[in-house]
Assembly symmetry: C2
Homo-oligomer: 338 residues x 2
DNA sequence: TTGCGTATGCAAAACGATTTTCGATAGCCC
DNA sequence: GGGCTATCGAAAATCGTTTTGCATACGCAA
C-alpha cells in the first residue's frame, strides 16, 4: 500500500505538504496542490485509517451490538444506523455477541470504536453492568422494556401504543380480548401488558386472567403463538380478538386459527406489534403497531455522534412514536355494522 | 484508557515484561506473571487494537458488503460470516454501500480491513471492476448469477436446483408450469431460467413463452409476484403450477391467487427459492429450494481466512448444495392420486 | 533595508503496541 | 571461577499519520 511518503516523493514535495493538501490546512500553492492530487490518484493512495485513528485517538467507527443478527426487527434498526453513520463518515461493525463470555466484549473495548450502540441489551446487562461499559465508552441504547434513565437511550412508549391498539378493538365491539406475549422478567413491568390493562380498565372491562397468555422468554416466537392459540381453542372459543405482542407471534396465532377453521378477521380479530415486512405479506394482512425501526437507528446514531462530539445539549432520552396500522386482520364485531 | 505502560507501573515491572506476559514469549517468572495479570485485571487493561494492527500490518477485521442490509437472505449469510469470524478472533464490519459513489470504497481500502467479502456484487462491479479490488485486498464473493472464475467465490448451482424443482412438479403431473422471476441482465444467463428449461426439455414439454414472466430488476419483489399473477389470471387460467425464483415473489403470487379465489395447492401448486423464514410462516407453507445461507457465510469467511493466511491450497471456488424442501404449497394434479 | 505575509521543507514528538537486541543480575553446577 | 540458564530492564526501530515549531525562501510594500 502506498503511503504518504510515496505520494510526496512522486509529487516532488515533502510529506508535510501532502498532509497540508489532504487536511486542507496551512498554505499550499495551487500548482503544488494539483501535483499532489495527481500523485494521489496515480498511486491510488488512501490515507491509512489505522494510523490516523491511533494518532487522532478516534476511529470514526462505532460498534453495534444486537441480540440477534438474523432478526429483521433489529436489522431494520441497523439499517437506520448505517445510513446515518455513513452520512457522517462513520463506519460501524455489527456484533451479535454471545454474552456468556464477557471477554468477547474486550474486542469492542480495544480502541477500535468511538462508541457502542446496544439494541435491547437485556441479556447483556445480566453479564456486564451497562454502567461499567458506559464508563469506558460512549453508549447509546434502544430499549422497549425497562428504561435506563441514567444512560442515553431511545425508546418507544409501548404501553400507550398497546393501550390505543386495545382500545381500538374495544371500540369495534370486542370485549373478550386475548393478550399473548413474552412475560419478560416481570409481567408488572411489561409495558405491553400494562397498556392492555389500561385499556380494559378505562373501558370498564374486567381483566379476565384466562385471556392472558404469557410465555417464558427465549422460546421460539412462532411456535408460542401457534401453540398458545391451540391451547386456547381446546378449551372452547371464548374470545373475539387477540393482541399479540409481536408480529411473529401473531402470524403463529393466525396459522392456528386458520387450521381450526376460524376466519380472520370474521371470527377473530388479530393484531401484532412491530410492523415487520411479513405483516403485509400474510393473508389477511396483519394490523399492527408500527415501530419506526429505521428512525430509531437513525436517532441512535445521532445520539451517539452527539456524545462523541461532546455536545452538552445532547438529549439523554429520545422517544420515537408508534403508529397503529390497520390492515385486514381486524374487523368490527358489532351487530350494527354487519 | 489504560496502556501497557500503566500496567507495567502498577505491577512494578517494565513494559517489556508486560508484553512478554501478554504474548507468551521470553522468560517470565511465575510470580511476576501473576502480578502482571492482576494489574491487567485491576486496570481493565485491553491492548489497543489500533496500535497492534498498525504495527502488525493486519487488523483481524474484514469488511462485508451486501446489496441490502434489510434483506433477510443476505443477513443469514452475514450471520454465518459473523459466527465463523468470531470463532477465529476476527471482527467484521457490515456495509451496504450505495455504489453510485466509488469513493465510498476508500473507507474499506484504508487499512482497516484484512479483506472484503462481497455478497452478490452485481451492481458493484458496474462501478468498480472486482479485479481492481482484488488487487488491493483479499476478496471473497458470493454469487448466484454469473460466476467469477478468476476470483475466490462461493456459489450454488441454481440451474440444477431449479431443474430438480421443476421436474418434481412435472413428476406430479404438472405440464403447464409458469416461470416467474427477475430477468437479470440476460435471460440466457439466468441459471434459474435455464434450469426450468432443462427440466421441460428433458421431459419433452415444449417451452410456452406465454408462461414465462421475466420482470426487470430493481423492482419490488412482492408487487412483481402479485401483479404478474394478476396479469396471468386476467387472460384465463392456463397453468397448474408456478415456479417463482424467490420466496417473496412466491408469497406475492400466493396472495394474488387467493384473492382470485384459487386455492394453493389444490388449484395451483407454487414453489419458491431461498427458504426464508417466511416460507414456513405463510399459509399454506411454501415449498422452496433451500439455499444454506449460514453455511455460505461460514464458507466465505473460511475462504477469506485461508487467503489472509496465504494458504496456497485454498480453493478458489466452493459449491454449496441446495435442498428441495417440500411443504404444503405443492400437490399432485394427477387424477390417479385424487 | 527592514518587515511581513505567503509558501514550502525539515525534523521531531506523539499515538500504543510489537519485536529484537543488549545488558545486567542472579543462581547453579562442575 | 568459568560457563550456563533463567529472569528482567532498557532502548531502539517500526507501523503511518497528525501536529507543531523552526528554518528558509520569495515577493512586495513601507
Amino acid at each position: 500500500m502506498a503511503t504518504r511518503r510515496d505520494v510526496a516523493r512522486l509529487a516532488g514535495v515533502s510529506p508535510s505538504t501532502v498532509s497540508r493538501v489532504l487536511n486542507d490546512n496551512g498554505y499550499v500553492a495551487d500548482d503544488v496542490r494539483k501535483r499532489v492530487r495527481q500523485a494521489i490518484q496515480e498511486l491510488n493512495y488512501v490515507p491509512n485509517r489505522l494510523a490516523r485513528s491511533l494518532r487522532m485517538q478516534q476511529s470514526r467507527q462505532v460498534a453495534c451490538i444486537t441480540p440477534s443478527i438474523s432478526n429483521s426487527f433489529y436489522l431494520e434498526i441497523v439499517a437506520g444506523i448505517e445510513e446515518t453513520a455513513l452520512a457522517h463518515d462513520y463506519t460501524f461493525s455489527l456484533y451479535s455477541l454471545t454474552y456468556e463470555k464477557r471477554e468477547y466484549l474486550d474486542v469492542v473495548l480495544s480502541g477500535f470504536y468511538d462508541g457502542m450502540i446496544l439494541l435491547a441489551p437485556y441479556e447483556m446487562e445480566k453479564i456486564v453492568p451497562l454502567s461499567e461499559l458506559a464508563g469506558r465508552l460512549p453508549v447509546s441504547l434502544y430499549c422497549d422494556r425497562e428504561r435506563h434513565p441514567d444512560l442515553p437511550h431511545v425508546y418507544v412508549d409501548l404501553r400507550r401504543a398497546m393501550r390505543e391498539c386495545t382500545e381500538h378493538l374495544i371500540s369495534l365491539g370486542h370485549r373478550r380480548i386475548v393478550f399473548m406475549g413474552y412475560q419478560f422478567s416481570r409481567p408488572a413491568q411489561n409495558p405491553r401488558y400494562l397498556g392492555y390493562q389500561d385499556a380494559l380498565e378505562a373501558n370498564g372491562i374486567p381483566l379476565d386472567e384466562s385471556l392472558t397468555r404469557l410465555f417464558p422468554d427465549h422460546q421460539d416466537t412462532l411456535t408460542c403463538g401457534y401453540q398458545t392459540v391451540c391451547d386456547l381453542l381446546d378449551r372452547g372459543r371464548s374470545f373475539t380478538a387477540i393482541c399479540a405482542t409481536n408480529d411473529l407471534i401473531a402470524v403463529g396465532a393466525m396459522r392456528a386459527l386458520v387450521e381450526h377453521g376460524l376466519r380472520v378477521p370474521d371470527d377473530v380479530s388479530l393484531t401484532g406489534v412491530d410492523d415487520l415486512e411479513i405483516a403485509s405479506l400474510v393473508t389477511p394482512t396483519l394490523s399492527t403497531i408500527r415501530i419506526p425501526k429505521r428512525q430509531i437507528g437513525s436517532v441512535l446514531m445521532e445520539q451517539m455522534l452527539a456524545q462523541i462530539h461532546g455536545d452538552a445539549a445532547a438529549p439523554r432520552a429520545v422517544e420515537v412514536s408508534t403508529t397503529l396500522v390497520l390492515r385486514e386482520s381486524v374487523k368490527s364485531c358489532l351487530p350494527s355494522e354487519l
